[in-house]
């Protein structure tokens, strides 16, 4: 057993896990509401998913007179196949623009052609031109936010991995974290925890997100007793790079794919061909064709690849439109450079066919939250990709950026308010933290078991093949059996090659594996229950949408091997959002 002195104890009002935009926006809001705040980053703070984003941002700016918050809300719910949490979707539509203005006040400059008007463009699934952006993309967004944290003196702890939320019967007490750079355990007492650790794209063999997005926070919230909602829905981006190995799965941004449609909703998107030169998307969506939603396109491409009509490298061919090259070069120069380096000059000039493949992009479901990001565990808040409900069964392109700003701020405000309203002594969680830390030291002591990277790859392959774009009852059942087998027989003997405590990547991966298995099992359980096809969830044995399944699935972990998977009615549309807005404005 670890000694008491092996765990360093600290104290803060609001503990935020995650250094992407949701976590940083929460930190700004919580700090400005008077709370002391600490942000944990699993790697260096800049290693986050927001930074990798194209930064395209859906908001109703007033510049397109056809558009309105109501239209944005309706697009969100339509894209989400009517199972979104309607209240969350409405809040997103109504608050997105104010948060875009916040970003500009932080130092960002949205693209414009005249001084006070932003440039608008289309993204996947939207019915109006409403998306703003900036040429510095996710890099710019995260940079200006990071400097706002510095200005406020918010503590940022690099290389601190969230391990577990510690709670008693009725409230969060603190968190156990592993300081990877020093190999030291920390127990951080706090009045509120905000999980903003992003999604779980690393469950899949090919993914576009950063390597640290192993869904830690989602699994930790699940183990702390919170419910997951819509966790069966994983969004795959249809258009990503196929090679070289490091770039495989990285998003190839939408202008190249949308062609002139990027500017004009009536124009055609770039055609997609299989190796026989067939426009296979027409079989799946003869109306919208290649301008269809991301879920339809990703699945169509995956089926071509799985059925042997893909390229030898494992992709299909996108025929780009050279007309958009100049605009693409101006708006997204970094992608032109990537195309040039990865593929060649013809592809970079959008003159030669570009190999593309789908890739795991965004965890649509996540921890169930209320409009103020509170979970069913008192003191535990969740925002951003780790939360579920905003996007339902599928997400509009350009909606993750406003989501993480809008709900990041709400989580920060609510957590600060929560801390102010409770006066608790938190020291009782220490022993639980110590026991957990002790158990997680096992791979450092163990010999003869499998290495964590090997097991992680096995999980990623199983998820990609069976719990990805194309699913069926048999294969889901079989994968669940294999996961349980891994959990029972392989995980307990995981062994790391090096026994150092300092930046031991294998040890970190051993800890991630438990998180991956928890979310994987939740995802499979919900996917098995949902006997239909909807949005990002496609069952070959139930290929049609079923109106009886216009419902959510909640998943709760009851204990070792025991799960509650329940069908729940969709949270009804509500007119409350206006009142919520007024409250939000008054509180800041």
């Amino acid at each position: 057993m670890l000694n008491i002195s092996d765990i360093q104890v600290e104290r803060v009002n609001v503990l935020i896990a995650g250094s992407g935009a949701a976590g940083m926006r929460a930190a700004i809001a919580a700090h400005d509401a008077g709370a002391s705040v600490m942000v944990l980053a699993k790697g260096p703070a800049r290693a986050n998913h927001t930074r990798m984003s194209g930064g395209r941002y859906n908001a109703v700016s007033g510049l397109n007179p056809m558009d309105s918050p109501d239209a944005f809300y309706r697009d969100t719910v339509e894209s989400g196949c009517n199972i979104n949490n309607h209240e969350l979707a409405r809040i997103l539509a109504e608050e997105a623009m104010d948060r875009a203005y916040d970003l500009e006040s932080y130092g960002l400059a949205w693209d414009r052609k005249v001084p006070s008007e932003y440039v608008l463009s289309m993204t996947g699934g939207g019915s109006f031109v409403r998306t703003i952006g900036s040429a510095d993309e996710g890099i710019g967004i995260t940079e200006v936010m990071l400097h706002q944290l510095y200005k406020r003196g918010v503590q940022i702890r690099d290389f601190h991995m969230l391990i577990e939320v510690i709670r008693d019967d009725d409230h969060v007490q603190g968190v156990l974290a592993l300081d990877l750079a020093h190999g030291v355990w920390r127990y951080i007492e706090c009045g509120a925890v905000i999980i903003a650790t992003g999604g779980t794209s690393q469950l899949y063999e090919t993914s576009s997100g950063p390597t640290i997005n192993t869904g830690d926070g989602i699994a930790i919230a699940l183990r702390a007793g919170a419910e997951l909602v819509d966790i069966e829905f994983m969004q795959f981006i249809p258009i990503s790079f196929v090679y070289p190995p490091s770039a495989r799965g990285y998003t190839l941004t939408e202008p190249a794919h949308y062609g002139m449609r990027h500017y004009d909703p009536k124009a055609e998107a770039a055609h997609l061909h299989n190796k026989h030169g067939e426009r296979f998307v027409l079989k799946h969506d003869p109306v919208r064709k290649e301008g269809s939603t991301r879920d339809v396109l990703a699945r169509a491409i995956m089926i071509e690849i799985l059925e042997g009509r893909g390229t030898p490298e494992g992709g299909v061919l996108m025929i780009p439109d050279p007309q958009v090259f100049e605009g693409f070069l101006r708006e997204r120069p970094i992608y032109v450079k990537r195309l040039l380096e990865n593929y060649g000059e013809g592809q970079a000039r959008l003159e030669a066919p570009i190999q593309v493949m789908p890739s795991a992009l965004y965890t649509l479901g996540g921890v169930r939250i209320d409009p103020w990001c509170a979970t069913s565990v008192a003191g535990l808040f969740v925002a951003g990709e780790a939360a579920g409900g905003v996007h339902g069964a599928n997400r509009l392109g350009g909606s993750s950026m406003p989501d993480i700003q809008v709900f990041g701020r709400r989580a920060g405000m609510a957590a600060a308010r929560h801390v102010g309203a409770t006066d608790r002594s938190q020291t009782s969680g220490f022993e639980a933290a110590r026991a957990r830390a002790n158990a997680l030291e096992a791979p450092l002591r163990s010999t003869g078991g499998l290495r964590p990277p090997e097991v992680k790859k096995r999980i990623q392959k199983l998820m990609w093949d069976n719990v990805g774009l194309v699913r069926s009852g048999d294969r889901l059942e079989d994968t669940l059996r294999q996961f349980r087998e891994l959990r029972d027989n392989v995980v307990p003997t995981l062994t790391v090659m090096g026994k150092t405590r300092i930046l031991n990547r294998e040890w970190m991966e051993a800890i991630e594996i438990e998180n991956l298995l928890d979310i994987g099992e939740a995802m499979i359980s919900a996917s098995l229950q949902r006997k239909e096809t909807r949005g990002a969830h496609y069952r070959t044995d139930f290929p049609a949408i079923d109106p009886r399944w216009q419902a959510n699935i909640w998943v709760q972990k009851l204990g070792k091997g025991a799960w509650r998977v329940e069908k729940k009615a969709v949270a009804a549309p509500t007119a409350l959002a206006g009142a919520q807005l007024a409250t939000a404005g008054a509180a800041e």
């Binding site: 260096p44 990798m52 693209d111 932003y118 690099d158 190995p245 970094i334 990277p453 300092i502 031991n504």
Partner: protein
Amino acid sequence: MTDAVTMEVKILRSSPSEGVPSAYQHFTVQGTDNMRVLDVIRSIYENQAGDLAYQFACRIGRCGTCAMRVNGVPVLACQERCKLQMRIDPLSPFPVVRDLVVDRTEVETRYAQMALTPAGPQSNARVRPIAPAVAEELCHLDSCLACMVCVSGCPAVEEHAFDGPAFMLKLRHMQEHPADNGDRLGQALDGGLLECFACDACTQLCPADLSPAQAIRDFRRDMIIGSKPK
């Protein structure tokens, strides 16, 4: 399209906090010629040295956290094409945590001290007018990855009291921002602006295709003829 290759790689390993001194470890890696340096390192971690410490996250040149030196040249490992013979060192002149991972504490403290936030109201829900050309330039300057490749490759940093090109670029970003009212030229001078001897190495090395050297030239021009009014 891709050819199989055999690479000879040596990596400088150390663990200062555990008293493990620096020493090169040699690896032979079978791969393809389109691999990036990061792919080679990941292959070594997965197949030969599970205890190798290295840092990366995005693998596509955006997070800026995988900077290291390959055959003496500072690069992002995820962007640099592999070579048949590689000597890989942690990014100098920064302190090493372990193997290829450096401690950025001082770097981040420096950024924090520079107060890189524009002034003005923080919650006014209105468009702040910015000339389109200025907005474009702001976006350009704000795409610095803070990867420290230019700082590592700057001969002036090595020899003089100079913060380094990346910091000059960030100060220039603020200088160009219409809502900023800080004395950015003064900060740049305090950070060693005049120590730069205009070799342009930073611009050649920048993985984001930025020109810190131009930011430095702009500040020097401001010194002589004064800056444009905002």
